[in-house]
Amino acid sequence: MRVLIIGSGTMGAGIAQWLSQNNVTTFLYDINHELLQKSYKEIHDSWDKLVQKKKFTEKDLGIFKNNLNKSEQLEIPNIDLIIECVIEDLNIKKDIFKNLLTFYTGNEIFASNTSSLSISELSLAFPKERRKNFLGIHFFNPAPIMKLVEVIESPYTDAKITEKIVNWFKERGKKTALCKDTPGFIVNRIARNFYGESLKILKRDNMSEVENIDTILKDCASLKMGPFKLLDLIGIDTNLKVSETVWKDLYYPDRLRPTSLQRKMVESNKLGIKSKSGFYDYNNEY
């Protein structure tokens, strides 16, 4: 398969890197040529470091670099799969797909790496006869390391296309989880109360309990990180946005209601590592 990635931000670059490492001829495109060049270089730099750490050999590196192509053009011959990885804006994404359809008029498979938008609604960017070839493929950050790929069907997606994509990723070492189009897909929905219930336990007059909750959940549940450390890492604002979107799009079920504590953290610019202060303080670390 020859794959075109649209958008060379963190996710697009990560997906392109992973594909190239898995013997896939990959084309990375970005409308911003400076960002494209920067991302392309960062991928190469990452590979150089991985060779120094002996994760890969020089021979591997040669193959990876040969597989990865940066492109300032959208139209590329013999593309089989196009994955869109631009900002989370429904209209921008739809416009990109409409534009791509002018070049790609055959049996190409189109996918969106969206984490929050409706795959069903995005599919409406395609004429009826082409919607069967569109689905969601949601990677996790960092894409070269995280094994999970959520594969999301719209009501129009051809089951054979889904099966093809699922098998293709499995053959390349990814763990696939298939789901219907629903807010948050699987992980972002089911994980909500890992954060939400932990926030319910935490009372605003006892913020010293943060570390205790983190330690208990980490150790009793055998996790790498407790909920508050993870919130600080993801970004308390980013996490709140996902929580609010999932809650709203599921028509406000009580069990997924976000907490005012989290909103107050965001209003106070306590966003986690990115603002050097969240549930923990990072002023001495960064």
Binding site: K175, V187, R189, I216, C220, L223
Partner: protein
């Protein structure tokens, strides 16, 4: 000290030196000793049970409270969550003033929590997984795969629920609802159907 269980409790084996009885035997035996409780019971049943073992001479009671609000049992010596399966055999305790075997790792609370944290948080995660199934959005295997590889959980929520026991998750959610009247704790139909 005597151990009382209502199941073939997996942690019993770490206390070979202690007398072990089941909940069905308590009315036939004079206890006259401290009790390490390993029963998992809904709160009202637990209150009757505490009354019964005190009648039989139970002295200090170290109560299994993973599916109960701890404040419902003010007259016990200490609390623990050893009935609620943990993948790392690590359990929460409060006021357990005796040494547990080294195979059992504990996390002690310095102040009494309303509910133990791990059972409470995990039950709400598992409940959401069952809501997801109830809505016909995907398969159990895909949910488990997603949570293991997307959030680095040691098990998926469906597998996890089977290790703990669905009825205990449901008891805890019902207790949380009873105590808070917050409908966020309503157990999904799919969870109840599979009890």
């Amino acid at each position: 000290m005597i151990i009382i269980t209502n199941t073939d409790h997996p942690l019993k084996k770490f206390f070979p030196e202690l007398k072990q009885i089941t909940i069905n035997e308590i009315n036939n035996i004079k206890i006259n000793d401290d009790v390490l409780d390993l029963t998992l019971l809904p709160t009202e049943c637990k209150k009757h049970y505490i009354h019964d073992i005190k009648k039989q001479g139970a002295k200090k009671i170290y109560l299994e409270s993973s599916i109960n609000a701890l404040f419902n049992f003010p007259d016990v010596a200490g609390y623990h969550s050893m009935g609620f399966w943990s993948p790392s055999s690590t359990y929460e305790t409060y006021n357990m003033n005796f040494s547990l075997p080294k195979e059992i790792k504990t996390k002690n609370h310095s102040t009494q929590p309303d509910f133990f944290y791990y059972p409470r948080v995990l039950s709400t995660i598992i409940n959401e997984a069952y809501f997801y199934l109830e809505e016909g959005l995907g398969k159990k295997e895909d949910i488990d795969t997603a949570m293991k590889y997307g959030l680095n959980f040691p098990l998926g929520p469906i597998e996890w629920s089977k290790k703990i026991g669905l009825k205990y998750i449901c008891y805890l959610l019902d207790e949380l609802f009873t105590m808070t009247r917050d409908s966020r704790y309503g157990a999904s139909l799919e969870l109840r159907k599979n009890l």
